[in-house]
């Protein structure tokens, strides 16, 4: 029964990972850019929720959309003025640019919010079902993550703009020839990714402590998830996130949290070496 408890706990965590990785994955798919600042976008999203909760005691579920909208706007600005300029440039430019942004945002957060650990103690306690106990905040975070991931999936699959995003990530030249405004697609994709990171951040704030350097920890996990599921595969990344969430909690259960930290990196390296296209990915 213990093990079932651990697995469920891991699955719930995986939902939050999924929503974070989805943004990073879509951005990579459309622009072939690894956004090293994605963790910091998440951190900012978490702090928005924290600020509203701390200042006015507003329910994090209400601030979640506010946080998403704010980061969507920030994403638009970043893409318009910074990221757009390195699209199609050598890999190094975008890596260094987004790393610079990540350092900059961390520095600002350190100055503004200090390095203290913060948390949004909302919905503590757990529900018991039989012998299982489900952390209420984790369950809520999972449900929200699932809903948002589902919405984004529908958006990508069904809507006209979603199709444009998918077309651009498959073949930007052809998409453009077919009348897709590729520049606008890139703009919206980055903003959408930032908004998803903000939602993930807000959910994380309900579960864990937040601090300005939290992004570093999550971005490593996100790489592992994306590689596990296959770059550019939305469903694959979702499955990868759940697998990683369970893997990590199991490793923490069997060994210790130190080694559990290594699970994502070990998975990342192994999958890259053995099966670079991931388990659901499309071969490039």
């Amino acid at each position: 029964m213990d093990i079932l408890q651990v697995i469920i706990s891991g699955l719930l965590l995986g939902g939050v990972y999924a929503i974070f990785a989805a943004g990073l994955n879509t951005i990579f798919g459309v622009m072939r850019i690894i956004n090293l600042a994605h963790g910091e976008l998440m951190m900012l999203g978490a702090y928005v929720t924290f600020a509203f909760y701390d200042g006015w005691g507003i329910n994090p579920l209400i601030t979640l959309p506010i946080s998403a909208v704010l980061l969507f706007g920030l994403g638009l600005l970043f893409q318009q003025f910074l990221i757009e300029r390195v699209v199609g440039q050598p890999l190094l430019s975008s890596l260094l640019l987004t790393f610079g942004l990540s350092t900059l945002l961390q520095g600002i957060a350190l100055n503004r919010f200090t390095a203290n650990f913060r948390s949004v103690p909302f919905l503590s306690g757990s529900w018991g079902i039989g012998e299982l106990s489900l952390s209420r905040s984790r369950l809520l975070a999972f449900v929200v993550a699932l809903a948002v991931t589902g919405l984004v999936y529908l958006f990508l699959q069904r809507s006209r703009f979603g199709k444009a995003i998918r077309a651009t990530s498959q073949q930007p030249d052809v998409a453009e020839v077919c009348g897709v405004d590729v520049r606008q697609v890139r703009l919206m994709t980055f903003a959408l990714g930032a908004a998803l990171a903000a939602i993930a951040g807000s959910l994380v704030a309900m579960i864990f402590s937040i601090y300005p350097e939290m992004g570093r920890m999550f971005i490593g996990k996100a790489f592992a998830i994306i590689v596990l599921g296959g770059l550019g595969s939305f469903g694959g990344a979702f499955a990868g996130a759940l697998v990683l969430g369970v893997g990590e909690t199991l490793a923490a259960y069997w060994t210790d949290t130190q080694i559990a930290q290594g699970v994502s990196y070990a998975a990342l390296v192994l999958v890259l070496l053995l099966r670079p296209s991931g388990f659901f990915g499309v071969k490039e």
Partner: protein
């Protein structure tokens, strides 16, 4: 006769041949590239402009770059050798940081500047070298310079083992794999506390004598000189030319008969020796090693940002970048540590956006430096 070109609409990395260039040709000596730049591939709406091709003969002194560098190096080395006699410990420590940054940046440049494979592994090599060298010193198993060499050789060995599978990965996959491996190395070192003392770190013997402390400075100086000479040797050799070919188009390079795997691996192993040895020296200098400090991704970033600031794929670029970046960093840090991260991050953003080729490309655009592979 060699000719250089300058002034296309998009900033070009020095010596880089665009993937689609018509009539791109390299003269037998590999001195200059004559080419007609085409608009960048794949970006219809990106402003192409009309490429303004200016051909300008390389200056006569370009042939003597080796001799000029030799003289500059000799002057610099003599000056650096006498520096500790008129300087306090703080200045010497700052100079060690400059030399360390030169080692990291120039060696990173060997793999990433020349082949285009962006490596985030330098932090990992730095940490491994520090631990191998540091533990040897801690246990008194080796004299310090043997320990430093061992640190470098250990990382070269690690690079040979991990390079073979990882260098098959292209572009972003390689970058992410090296990031993951560095984190993994850090976690292994932390978890393996029977050997590495885990998170509590290793305290190395304190060096009480100034002359003893200065050995770190001179060791770092020697390492920096070696990496500079190796960089020049690689840049002017056929080996270096083949690495550049891999950077510009790996498929074409292979089709030309270059054993790309062997060349990438060779450059990777060569490049990894220096961060390892430098890590061991730096461990001895600081006297304390722990995983978060020595495996921090910032060591890789430092190498990358420095090379980019100076001019990646050139010999002088990383050295120039190391001196400027370290001194500016130190100044900013001493004035306001809180603002440091913001300024450092902002600086990186500005360099990427406005100076992608670094100082060298800037000077080339102004016409003060020729577009030569020997730089």
């Amino acid at each position: 006769m060699s000719v250089g070109y300058s002034g296309s609409s998009s900033p070009t990395v020095p010596g880089r041949v665009p993937a689609r260039s018509s009539g791109g040709r390299v003269s037998p000596g590999g001195d200059a590239v004559v080419e007609t730049p085409l608009p960048p591939a794949g970006d219809g709406e990106r402003e192409a402009g009309t490429p303004r091709v200016v051909t300008r003969p390389l200056p006569a002194w370009e042939r003597h770059t080796g001799a000029i560098y030799g003289v500059l190096l000799a002057v610099a080395v003599v000056a650096m050798a006498f520096l500790p006699m008129n300087a306090n410990d703080y200045t010497v420590s700052l100079a060690i940081t400059v030399l360390l940054t030169i080692c990291l940046a120039s060696s990173w440049n060997l793999i990433s500047g020349f082949t285009g494979y962006v490596s985030f592994g330098h932090a990992g090599f730095f940490g491994i070298g520090a631990y191998v060298g540091g533990l040897l010193i801690y246990h008194g198993a080796a004299t310090w310079y043997v320990a430093v060499l061992a640190g470098g050789l250990a990382t070269a060995l690690v690079a040979a083992v991990i390079g073979y599978p990882t260098l098959r990965l292209r572009g972003p996959y390689f970058a992410v794999a090296m990031l993951g491996l560095t984190e993994l190395a850090s976690i292994i070192v932390t978890a393996w506390d029977s050997v590495t003392f885990g998170g509590s770190g290793v305290f190395l013997p304190i060096l009480y004598e100034r002359s003893e402390r200065l050995t770190n400075y001179y060791a770092m100086l020697v390492l920096a000189v070696v990496v500079a000479v190796v960089s020049y040797a690689v840049a002017t050799s056929r080996f270096g030319l083949r690495l550049l070919a891999i950077r510009d188009d790996e498929g074409a390079a292979r089709a030309m008969g270059i054993n790309t795997t062997a060349h990438k691996l060779g450059a990777f192993v060569l490049s990894s020796f220096f961060p390892g040895a430098a890590g061991a020296i730096y461990a001895r200098h600081t006297g304390y090693i722990d995983p978060p400090a020595f495996f921090a991704v910032i060591w890789s970033i430092r190498a990358i940002a420095t090379s980019m600031l100076g001019g990646q794929g050139t010999v002088i670029g990383p050295i120039l970048g190391a001196v400027v970046l370290t001194l500016v960093s130190e100044e900013v840090w001493s004035r306001d540590p809180n603002a440091y991260q913001i300024i450092f991050g902002g600086l990186i953003v500005l360099v990427v956006l406005f100076m992608p080729g670094g100082f060298v490309a800037l000077l080339q655009r102004v016409g003060w430096l020729p577009r030569s592979r020997r730089l």
